[in-house]
Each structure stands twice: as structure tokens, then as C-alpha cells.
Symmetry: C2
Subunit: 392 residues, 2 copies
């Protein structure tokens, strides 16, 4: 049980005068209960006083029972002929859990538009009007307070237990980085690389330090010519064969029991050109300078500038179009801290974020190196360190 | 361009007196525009009169331009330093697209709680309060009508173009079914099987009949003892090695450019026991009887009963706990048609659904065989047929 997480949440709820939080998004159910939902149809009622209640589909009850810290678990029939109307069953369970309470302010997840999928990534269950109708019926419309900012604030600083889950996810990700490193070669395709990376993480990561539900989401862009833009947030992996001198850029998300990491490596098929090698050296130097600038008390803007200055000096500022980093943990991207130019946000111990400078040329492709770090009083801990070489 | 889809949608909008539809979920953007969103941050404004407008992140503009049938495409900067507030940009683009219109009834996706992820399955973007605030600002609060039922009705019957996309997705899925068939053996683990199945689909499916974005989501349950329940909707794939005589059940979702299929096969490591072989024979017979009962005009209940009767006669009715099938197409599961006991819903030509009877024993594991069919006037077309054998 993550006592620190519970205590910090209850303290913040008292400050915001919230009687309870009701969560439906898998990332927040996990945050406050220890359980990572399978389908996303679970509800967590987290009162400021007393024990939480988690309402789950019966087919997830085994996992919920194993993973929940201390929440009472109530299940409803789901996906079988005997099932009734799940919303009616959920409403009944929630009503029973708050019977006799006089709550006037209940926090909910109104503002989350970028979400972590549940374990069943093929078909996320999300809250919409039917969920709101159940909540209005149970708690009374007009008692809801959007707790998005509060939840993001709470999530910005990870507890030691959460930090270790992220360390574990990054250690698992290294299996994929190694498969990528070994796989990039002339004649290999992007989809083959993605297949190997995702397979390695699934097969080698499942069971590692007790991880039960591991999945990777890889993208490999093998040629800038595939897109007219130098940089973009997402690439479509193709079946084009790498030619000698082509860059392959791996963008890798890994989830291990609900905790996410976000890594990038780049390799060249065959031997790098002088330009590729120089740009890569600049990007690695920028990334390491940013990591060296991380410590509790530093501003996010200073960390960004540490990377950006090196890229500027090398003449590539215009090709580094994005931020140096973003928060992450219970999602692939979290809003705090954003490591961007001019930010005066002070980093705090326990924050976790990416460090990912990149330089992109429409004619050559992108070179980015990305790791995930933990902010500490004395500096940054890099989770799951892995070598950054461009070629063998 | 799918003229039939457009025409049927406009006819239904006239019947419901809707001036426009505004869609944000990737599945409905795809349905009405031809474009399958990458991140899920796209908006489609689909007026009853005139051309639609699609508002997309700039980094998706290339794909949108290639895939959109006839919608005007407006992009906003996203994920780069130069980006402003995306909601402001989206609001501005939508306002401009509906300038001068006097719309009083606008349909929106209020009731979708089970959704298809966008291409970026690691972090779906979903509509919540911020999207609603933009829409209220652009169109005026109080003008929205929940069009969930209308969209589900429209989606229940696939156009010939949509049917062919589903045929294609199922043909791709067969690559994974083959990898599973070849992979099941004593000593092999569930996660290894998932890795091989997903890799085969990605590598062999990308480029097949022009498919650009292909991904598989496989689950393999290798032992009923892993769960206390005989049947449940989702399983966690483990690293346990298959022993001789163990069943391996593959549940497989595949998406190809936004069109989904849902298949199941079961194999035994080594030689099946007499009981396994008998139950498997019963399940295959039930599945084939249900498929044979499918034709336009049949009731969903009759199709369910065709399968259930055979399982009942074999004495396993209590072990067949779920429906015989469900709709699918733009999502892994769609609500229409539900092939369940007693349903008087009449199947119509162009409906697509699964046929997936199963029998589950806590002591032995589950045996299910699942295919996807198209309802026609004369019977069922099985998409991507694949053999059903339990062992080599």
C-alpha cells in the first residue's frame, strides 16, 4: 500500500474541501487504489474519510482483489448472459458505498482529454454521458467539482513506490532498445523492427520483477522522405527496406502494470555519414547537458536551455522544434513538468520527466535521443540507462 | 468516396431533423470522412447540406489529405513550440466552417463509452469537458442532440466499400491465425505466441491490399487454472510454458486502417484428450450451424439458437455463458446486431457480426472458435476463412 500517495491525496482533498473523488479513468483508479483496470469499466470512490470502494466487472475481480491496496471491492456481472444493465448495477454499488454520507463537493475527472488506455488497448472504455448520468443519480447533479488540476498536481510528484514502478518499466524497455540496436541493418524494414522490439519487451518483460501486464507500442520511421515534414509527433511505420546510410528512429512507449515509459533511440543502417554523426553527437551532448542540469530547485526553462544552447551553437536551433521534455508516469505523456523554453516552474524531488532533444531534416530524417529521469535533490537519476550509439 | 455512406447518413439526418453532425471519435470521423485519425484530436463537421470540414493536427495533415474523401481540411499546429492553444485554434476553424449557417440541431457522440482507439493506441485522445466547451462556444449550448443511436443504426449496415475493408482486415488476421497454429507446442509460452501472432500481422499485413496502418492485439490463455473462472471476457497472457495436453486459446483483434476484426482459434499442445476433441467438435458444429442460419430476414435469436441447441444437446449449455455474436466493423465490438437468445432483431444484408460459441471448464480451459461474417440475402459470407483444427 502506498501510504504516501494516500496521505498526500487526503491532504490535498482537505485543502480543496473535497469530500470524495470519483475516478473512472484507469490511470487515476491505479493512482489511488493500486489496481490497474483491465477494460476501463471500473469506478473508484475515494472518500476523504474512510476506505475507498472499487466497483469492477466480475471478470476483473481476481486482478482487482490481488492489486487493490485496501479498497472494498464490489463486482457486477459483465459480458455474460446473466448480466443486467451494468450502469444500474454500478449505480447501486456506489449508492450503497456512500449511504449515510453528506457529501457536497465531489471531485471528478472532467478535463482529461488525453488518457492512458486500460489493459484492453484495443477497445478503451471511457466516461461519457451514461457515466455522468449514473454519477448525477448517485451523488446529485451540481455537487461535482472538476478535479483534473488537482489530480495532475498530485501526479506531478511520484512517491518512492511509483518511482520504482517507473524504474521497472524503463528496465523492461531496455529489452526493446537492445532488439532495435541489434536489428537495424540494410534490407530490414520498419515493421520488422517494430515487431522485434514489441516481441522482445512482451516476452522478456513479462514476469520481470513481478510485472504481469506488459505491452510495447513502437514506431520506427526509416526515412524522412516518407513525410514532407521534418518533425512530427507520430510516424507511420512502413515496409520499406532500409538502404545503406538510412536513419531509423525508434519511438517507444512501454507500459508495465499501468506505469509508462517513453524512450527514443536512433541508429543508422550501415555506416553513418559525417553529417549524421555530427548531428547525433550534438543531440547526445544536448541530452546529457539537460540531464546534468536537472536537480530539485532548477527551473524547467534552465533544463530546456541546457539542451537548446548546445543545439543552437551547432547551428540547428531551427531544426529542434519541440520541447526538451514532458512529465510521464501513469500516462505516456503527463503535463507536469513541461521542460520548455522560458518555463519558471521549479523542479521538485520526485518529479519524473523525459529528456528528448531532437534535430530533424526533411532531407535526412530525425535524430532524437530520449530517456526518462527522476528529479532528486542532487541531480537526475536516469531510469534504465541504455547506450546511445548511432552505429555498431 | 463512399457515396452510399454519405447518402444514407444525409437521409437519416433529414429524418431526425439534424442540421449537422460533429464527430470527434476516430471511428465516426472515419465513418463519415474516410480519414482514420492518428491521435484522436481531429474534429469532423458534417453538415446535412454541403461539404464536411475536418480539423486536424498539422502533423496528421498528410494522411488526412490522402484519405479524406471530399472534406475541406483545416490544420492547427500541434506538439511543436510554435503551437498555440489547440482548443482556440479548433474553435476558430469550426466557427469559420459554419459561418452564416443557422443550425438549431447538431448531433454529437454523447453516449459512446466503449470506443475504438485512434492509431496512437498508447494514448487515446478523447472528448471531455474541454471539447464540450469548444462546441458550446462554436454552436451554442443547448443545440446538441445525442446522435449515438443514429450513428449506431447507420453503422449497423456496412456499405460495400466498408465490407471490403473488413474482408481485408480479416485476410490480414489470417497471418496471425497461421502463426498461432504453427506456434502452439509443448514448452512454448503464451507471451511468445502473442509476440509471434502480432509480429506476423504487422509484418505481413502492412502493405497487403494497400493497408498502411495495421496492428494486432492478441491474448492467449494457456490454462484455465490461471483464473478461477471458466469464462471471462479478457485474459492476461502469461509466461507459463505449455505442457502436453494444455489448451491455448487465442483471442485476436486486428485493425487495418481503422477497420477491425475479432477472431478466435484454439489449439492443444501435443495431442488432445478425448474430452477436448469432443468439446471442440461440438463447438465447431455449433459455430457452423449458426453461420448456416445467417441470412437476411433471419432473427438474431434464431442464429443464436442454432449454435446453442447443438451445445445444449451435447450437455454443455451451462458452460456456454455468453452471446453467440456481436456486431463489429469500425470497432472491435459494435452493438448491432447482438446475436443473443430470444432476440427478434431481423438480420439485414450488409450487417457484419461475429459467430463465436464457446464452452469453458474451470478444470480444462476454454474452447471457442470465432469468425466474422457478412449477412447477405442468401446466407453468410465468412471473411478470411481459416481452418479450425485443434491439433496438427
Amino acid at each position: 500500500m502506498d501510504n504516501e500517495r494516500i496521505l498526500r491525496t487526503k491532504t490535498a482533498m482537505a485543502r480543496e474541501d473535497l469530500d470524495a473523488l470519483v475516478c473512472r479513468l484507469p490511470e487515476n483508479v491505479l493512482l489511488l487504489s493500486g489496481y490497474w483496470p483491465m477494460s476501463g469499466c471500473s469506478f473508484l470512490l475515494f472518500p476523504r474519510d474512510g476506505k475507498p470502494t472499487c466497483v469492477v466487472p466480475h471478470c476483473e475481480a481476481d486482478e482487482a482483489a490481488e492489486e487493490l491496496w485496501d479498497a472494498a471491492c464490489v463486482s457486477f456481472l459483465f459480458g455474460v448472459l446473466a448480466a443486467g444493465n451494468p450502469y444500474a448495477d454500478i449505480g447501486k454499488a456506489l449508492k450503497s458505498a456512500c449511504a449515510g454520507k453528506r457529501w457536497s463537493r465531489i471531485g471528478f475527472e472532467g478535463g482529461f482529454e488525453s488518457v492512458a488506455p486500460p489493459w484492453n488497448t484495443a477497445e478503451p472504455a471511457i466516461p461519457a454521458a451514461p457515466t455522468q448520468a449514473v454519477l448525477d443519480d448517485v451523488f446529485g447533479a451540481g455537487r461535482f467539482v472538476d478535479a483534473t488540476e488537482l489530480l495532475n498536481e498530485l501526479r506531478a510528484i511520484k512517491t518512492p513506490m511509483e518511482q520504482d514502478r517507473l524504474r521497472c518499466a524503463n528496465e523492461i524497455a531496455c529489452r526493446g532498445l537492445r532488439a532495435f540496436q541489434e536489428g537495424v541493418d540494410v534490407g530490414v524494414t520498419g515493421v520488422e523492427l517494430v515487431g522485434e522490439v514489441e516481441r522482445a519487451i512482451l516476452v522478456e518483460g513479462t514476469g520481470y520483477r513481478g510485472a504481469r501486464r506488459v505491452r510495447a507500442f513502437a514506431q520506427v520511421s526509416t526515412c524522412a522522405a516518407e513525410t514532407a515534414m521534418g518533425y512530427r509527433a507520430m510516424e507511420i511505420t512502413t515496409a520499406r527496406k532500409l538502404a545503406s546510410g538510412d536513419l531509423a528512429l525508434l519511438e517507444l512507449a512501454v507500459v508495465a502494470d499501468g506505469f509508462w515509459c517513453d524512450r527514443t533511440r536512433v541508429r543508422v543502417a550501415g555506416s553513418p555519414t559525417e553529417t549524421q554523426a555530427m548531428v547525433h553527437k550534438t543531440v547526445v551532448a544536448a541530452q546529457e547537458a539537460a540531464i546534468a542540469a536537472v536537480h530539485a530547485g532548477a527551473t524547467a526553462g534552465d533544463v530546456d536551455e541546457a539542451a537548446r544552447a548546445i543545439i543552437r551553437e551547432a547551428g540547428h536551433e531551427k531544426e529542434f522544434l519541440h520541447v526538451t521534455g514532458h512529465g510521464l508516469g501513469l500516462r505516456y505523456h503527463e503535463p507536469v513538468p513541461l521542460i520548455c523554453p522560458g518555463s519558471e516552474l521549479r523542479l521538485e524531488s520526485g518529479m519524473t520527466h523525459t529528456v528528448e532533444p531532437g534535430v530533424y531534416f526533411p532531407s535526412m530524417g530525425g535524430i532524437r535521443v530520449e530517456d526518462n529521469v527522476l528529479v532528486t535533490a542532487t541531480g537526475a537519476e536516469v531510469f534504465g540507462p541504455f547506450e546511445k550509439g548511432l552505429a555498431a
